[in-house]
Structure formats: C-alpha cells, structure tokens
Subunit: 517 residues, 2 copies
Amino acid sequence: MLFTHVIKFGGVGGKCGGKNFSRIFGMSNKLFATCTEMSNVEHKLNIDTINPAIKKVEYAVRGPIVIKAAEIEAELNKGVKKPFDKVIKANIGDCQAMGQKPITFIRQVIAACMCPDLMQQNVFPSDVIERAQTILSGIGSTGCYSASVGIEHIRGSAAKYISTRDGYPSNPNNIIITNGASSSVKLILEMFVSEEAPVTGVMIPIPQYPLYSATVDEFAMQQVGYYLDEGNNWALNIDELSRALTEARKTCNPRVLCVINPGNPTGQVLTYQNIEDIIKFCIDEELFLMADEVYQDNVYQAGAAFHSFKKVMMNMGPEVTSRLQLCSFHSTSKGYFGECGLRGGYVEHHNLSEDVNYQLNKLQSAQLGSNITGQLVLDCIMDPPIEGQPSYQQFNKEKQGVLHSLKERAQLTTEMLNRIEGITCNEVGGAMYAFPQIRLPQKAINEANVRGMQPDFMYCLELLEEYGILVVPGSGFGQREGTWHFRMTILPPIEDLKIFLERLEEFHVSFMKKYAD
Amino acid sequence: MLFTHVIKFGGVGGKCGGKNFSRIFGMSNKLFATCTEMSNVEHKLNIDTINPAIKKVEYAVRGPIVIKAAEIEAELNKGVKKPFDKVIKANIGDCQAMGQKPITFIRQVIAACMCPDLMQQNVFPSDVIERAQTILSGIGSTGCYSASVGIEHIRGSAAKYISTRDGYPSNPNNIIITNGASSSVKLILEMFVSEEAPVTGVMIPIPQYPLYSATVDEFAMQQVGYYLDEGNNWALNIDELSRALTEARKTCNPRVLCVINPGNPTGQVLTYQNIEDIIKFCIDEELFLMADEVYQDNVYQAGAAFHSFKKVMMNMGPEVTSRLQLCSFHSTSKGYFGECGLRGGYVEHHNLSEDVNYQLNKLQSAQLGSNITGQLVLDCIMDPPIEGQPSYQQFNKEKQGVLHSLKERAQLTTEMLNRIEGITCNEVGGAMYAFPQIRLPQKAINEANVRGMQPDFMYCLELLEEYGILVVPGSGFGQREGTWHFRMTILPPIEDLKIFLERLEEFHVSFMKKYAD
C-alpha cells in the first residue's frame, strides 16, 4: 500500500481536500529533502494501522472550513483578487486574537515571576510585587516542576474563590489544575474508559462543544446526545434527558452527563430550577455530572445569573451532597481575561473517594503537572486585586470594560441576526457565541447534496468564499435533523461586528435569491 | 461497597500507606465540610469501576518513596526531631529546584512578550526586544491560541536548529510542539493503540524512564522490556533486542522501539556504531523508532558525543531514510536551561504520511495546542543569541557555567559512588542521573521480604528516614532480577553534593553492618 490516501471529512466535508490542511495547523508548504512525499515505501504506521479511535475524532472549530479559510488567506497574501481584503475569523473564542487587550495585572504578575530582577526596577505596582513574591516563596522558581495537581497556594486561591462564589467551603485537595479546562475534561473522562463491554456512554448536549464528542471518540466511548430545546431558548429539558438515556441504555452503559452552562455554542444560561432538576436526574439515574462552567463570568441576559452546580447541590442538603458525584470545570481562556494561549484551567471534584483521587493525581504526575504560567493566570483570576490595592482601579476598569463590551456585542448580535429574514437566533444570554438557525431553500439543500456537503457547510463555504467571513457550520456541533445553523463568536470589536453582520445579511439575501425555490 | 480502600503500591510498596499521598501532590490535610470522608454512599465512579488501565500506571519518580519524603518534611516543619534538618531531594531532574539559575535571555524574552509595555522602559537588551517583537508579530499576543502544532515561527526555529545540528534539512511541517516532551511521547504512542487483538507491544529499555511504562499501561498496550548491559556501561545490545522481540512476538504485536539517549536513568551515551545498528534493527524488524533525545546537551564523558538518530539515519543514505519511521523528542526541561515548569518540548517525525500527520494535528487541535510560554523557551533554545548580539556574552557565560558544573558533578558522583564498598556505578556519561548498583546482604533481602518491600525500596526508605536523603529505588525503573539499584540526580550544588555523597556512604556502611550476613 502506498502513502497516498484521500482525507475524508465525513459529514462536514466539501471541496477542501486534505492536501492543504497544513496551513491551518500553522505549516508552510515548502518542500524539503526529508519530506514524506519523497518516500514510496510501505510504512508500518499508516492510515490503516493507526489507532482507529483517533480517526473518528472530529473537531469542527478547527475543521475543514477553517482549513479552507487558511487557503484563502494564503491566496490573498499572494495577491489573488477577492471580493474582500481579509478573512474575518469568527470561528473560535480566541478573545485576544480579535483585539481584546490582556488584563495588565495578570501580565505584570507573570513578568515579575519570570524575571524577579524586574521587581527592583520600579516598573510594577507594589501589589504585583507582593503577589509575585508570595507565589515564588512557595515554588522557588517558575522553572521548577509544579506539584502534579498544581501549586498548593494557587489551589488554595481557587478554593477560596469557589467558597466565596458559592457560600460553601471548597477543599483545595479536590482541585486539580491543568493545561486549560480541555485537559481537565479529558482527565476526568479517561476515568470512565471500560475495557469490557458494554462501552461507556457519555451524555452530551446537541448542539455541543466538539471537545466532548472528540474526547468521547478518542476514548472509544459512546456519545449519547440529548437535544437542547431551541424553541424554548435552548433549555435543557429533563424529559429529553430521560428519552436519550432510555434509548442509550439499549446499546451502552451511560455513566456521565455533560452539561455546558452558560452554553457553548448555544449561549443560554440555565435557570436555578433547571439546575436542581438536572442534579435530581443524575442522582435518580446514578450519573456522574460534569459541569462545564468556563463561561461563568460571561452572563449578559437581563434577569439571568450564573448558578454553579456546586452551589445548587449544596443548597439541596446532605441527602443530595452525599449522593451526587460532580466535577466542575473552569478556565483562564474565557471570562474577561481571555488568556487562551497560556493554558490554565481546573477541575473541582466532589465525592470522589480518596483512592480515585489518588489515581487522578498519579495520572497527572506522569505528565509532571501543568505549565506554571497558566497557573499564575489562574491565581490572578481567583484572587484578583481588591479595593485599596494599587492595581485595583485599573484591573476593575479593564474587567468591566471587557464585560460591558461583550454584553453590548451579545445584544447587537442577537438583534441584527433576528432582523435577517430566514434567520432566527435565541438571545445570546451568555458565553461568546451565537448559534442562529438558518432556514434554507430546498434548492440549496439539493445543491449541497449534489456537491456531497451538508447544506450548512455549503452555506458557510459560500459565505467564506464570497465575503471572507469565517463561521463554523452547525453540523460540527450537532443539530436536530432537518435544521441548519452556524456558530459565530461575538468577539470582533463592535464596529467590525456591525460591518460583519451587515455583510452577513447581504450574503444571506443573495444566497436565498440564488437558491430560491 | 463503601468508599474506603487500602491503596496498594504494588511491588514497591512499604510502610507509607495511601492516607498521606496527598502531600506529595501538593495537598494539605485539613478537613472541609465537603470532604469525601464524610460521605458513605456507594458512588458510581469508584476504585472498582475506574478505568482499569489507569490503576496499572506507576510513576516511581513521584511514587511512594517521594510521598514518604513529603510526610517527613511535614513532620520536620511541625518541629519533630530527626537526625537531619531537611530532606535533600535527588529524586527528580528538577534543575532549578536544586538551585540552578534560569538563563537570563530566556526569561527576558518571556517577560517582554507577556508585558510588551516593558519594551519601552529600558530594562531589556535590544536583542531581547527584537526577539519578542518577531514572535509577537506572528502571533499577536501570548494570550491567543497557538496553532495546534505550535507557532509557525518557532517550528521554523526548531527546524533550523535541527538542520544545523545534523547537517541535513529539517521540515517544520514534521515538528509538533507540545507541553513538554512527555506530551509528545504520549501523543505518538497513542497512534499505536489497537482496538483488536493482538495488543500492541512497545519495546522499552530496562532500566527505563517510567514515563514509558506509565504511558504504555495507560493505553493498555504491552511493555516489552529489553535489558541494557550494565557490565558494558549500559550499552544497548542488539542481541538482547532480538531476544526480547522474539519473546514478545509470542504474546503481542511489537510495533515500537523506544531508545533513550543519553540514558535516563542510566547516563550512558550511545556510540555512533550502536545507533547505526539500532536503526538497521528497526528496519529489519519493521519497528517504529522513538528516540528520546531530551538530554542531547548533557554529555560529559571524555570522547563521547551526542549523535542524533536523525543524523545517523541520513548518513546511512536513501535506502535507510526511505524505510525508517522515526520520531525524535526534545524538551525545554533539561540541557543547560532546565525550564521544567514551563512545559515545552517537541517531536520531529520522519516518514509519517500526510494523512497520519493530519491525524496527529487533529488530535492536538482538540486540546487547542500547547502553552505559549513553553514555546517561547523553545524558541530561545533553538535560536540562541549569537556572537555580536548584546545578550550573547551573558547567555554563553550562563550556559557554559551550567554545563561545566554539571560535568564536574557527574564526575564527582561517579568517583565518590565507586569509592563506597558494595556500590558500583557506571560512569555518568550524560543526562542528569547516576544509577548505581547496590549489593545487598541476604539478611537485608530477607528483612525486606518480611516487610513486604522490594529490598532496594527498603534501602531507600532507611536512607530517607535516617539521613533525609531522597533517591528512587531501582525497582521503579526496572532492573535485572536479583540486582538492586537506586537513581539519584547529580543536581545538588557541588558542595551539597559532596556532603550528600559522604552521608550516603555513611548510611551505606551502617546499613551493611546492620544487615551483615
């Protein structure tokens, strides 16, 4: 067998073959003497002998449409004429890539910890220096390995933050700091791999953030999708959970329920009552609850509030707290800080026995713990400057500035999308995304079928090719059959976002005309 | 079933039960209202239902003896009297924790990238500023997600470095940057998981660095140990590879050979000829070669030199380069930089087809790439200041200082260990460890059996309890039956190292007397 294989993109595939996938992953296309392309020997590790679970993994947020966007960018750079000058990327929640400024205090603490000499040079406020000294006194240098589950002081900061947030104590021993929340999610899901049949089932919302489907596939477990109720503002309906669970029990052993609140890609904020019902459901059905709460600071909707699963559980009393197994995830990548590249996050777990906790710790220890910078960011977020401290005013101004602007952008996005005929979008109540439904004419659907694409993939592809706007087709997140969506971030600066949405409308009108039944 | 379980430490276990494992992972022991201990409900995720592969994982470098050390430290902190004031930790290659200073240039580049405003404040040399500006011009902010496989510019730096090192071109498209080399190793091994029998076999040296055994167990693959030849300075003997492979083929499908050069824990440096033979062996036996070369800057032995597997392979010509599948790993944690906590590393692969490379990329993308700081460190190492640049002199002085001192410490360690009766140690030719053999009296072995411990575990435990010296028993790395060893780092500052080795000798003499046959 030779080395050449067509790369297939499953249901979301289109024109963009695998040949140029390299660009999106940050590769150039020059040829080198050692390039694989020069070899035509049959190799032992090839696409037929690779771990089959890996082949199943899909991650739409950086998937084929994004690869296509990179190709178009490369053409633009070469001077190829297009109806637009640049690609506007609304595919991923990468705040700082869209112009958000980092929080000064966070960056100063990092710089001080990295170059302690700078602390003598009158470039930092005194609370930055104090913070850096506190952390360094515990770890020595940022170049030292961290404790496997994270720096003790910073786990303490996280526990303090959670305690204040919820009004209930948090035990630092139940917190594990990882390279972003994605690693925490993977760490916890790995505990549920079973070597014997039946395979473990993991309940995930549809639409979902594709980390979940990707990780479930990577571990060769079974996805058990439950539909969010689009007609009811993406509410999480307990009857639908029951339906999905009953159905799944025929083919797998469902052990975990994943909930994302505020929702990604759907932007809804769960009500207190809904959270209570979900907790009861998990207890009744003996499910382990994984609560993705990385957008807990991103709530914009009037009257809505973030309630942590932990707090609601604690409010429900010992009958519930003793029975529920719960993990909550948080991240340094979202909120008002948006430090995606520095990879910090944590999981707080509840009701894991000490021996299971030991197994988690051991697994982390073989990877020698998470990177220190992400932990420093976490400390700054979990224990921010308080009133009276020199950094407080600037910190608070920057924080409120980001959150206020995100709220404006969420509202603008909801409003402008719903003005477009053929598009409806639930209110962007939280998180950083809109997930509008697009009603496509039958002619468009037929054309997509002919081209071997999902109709929303074709829609997004034309939007990209004609207007340079990059959004992710709903088929990458999952949706009810016969409905079509896309996910866009609300992150472009407000003036750009307006233009973005105007161009989107223009495209949509022309698309509908082009494929009018 | 209740929540309580005794935590067993398998063959290396001893007195130190699981109860206090938390300390080594950075936990305190205070009780909190939400503590697991308060619950006595049967939970769905427990030690019986957890992923059985995880339970098998062992990682001795942070294993039970290290947990015991943390207990002793806690006692010392409480004022408990011991024959020593502090625990000297020679268990892990954590350079900066043992007093090594970070390289100034690296830390300045990080600080400049994190706080670009500092570049206006006259605190950095001009080449630091230029470096930071080059990197930032490619990525925008350190807060942005990196490309999944790493920042394009930094992959380019790595390729340039490899090309210069080997005298052959390196393709940046074949380089993936990860959170430390450990993540690279895990990423590559995961490709070999097979869903159907026979299970994949992975050849690892005995003694080995326990990352390999831990990862092989985590993926439920089979370890195929091949013994290094202690009598011949830990040489890698091809006949022994053949023997191990033939044996393994009866029970599994061996697909991968892992080689660590310079050796961990064994400190040998492979000869050019040996590397050629290993490459031929892999081609003949159709094995995928994983070359752990993270200690490539750490060669001390007179006459020895580091030869990369890539270079040797290229020298062997197209018949070999077209047939061998090779991965080489490098890290920002070792060498003269020792930035363990910042988690940088890479894998360069050779002869992976583009579709397999795509699968690797995709898997990385679901975890959103590696942390930026580790990548910044990598850039500084791969593209260090050159003569004439403002940072060159200091950089070079710091680099040579560390390497010179490591060489001194390697020699001192070899010499002083071999002076001790009953201890023999091959020359520490490279890396950061000595792995001396200790000949134990039968009485000691009997006593260890009675106490349910490996004899070298008992030896290390008594060394720790009586002298406060922490080293890792050979049984955690693997060794020929009936031989006993321990691994110690050569990292304590030279004066401390002398005292350390004198105390070790004192202990050894008393131990031998105590258990004299």
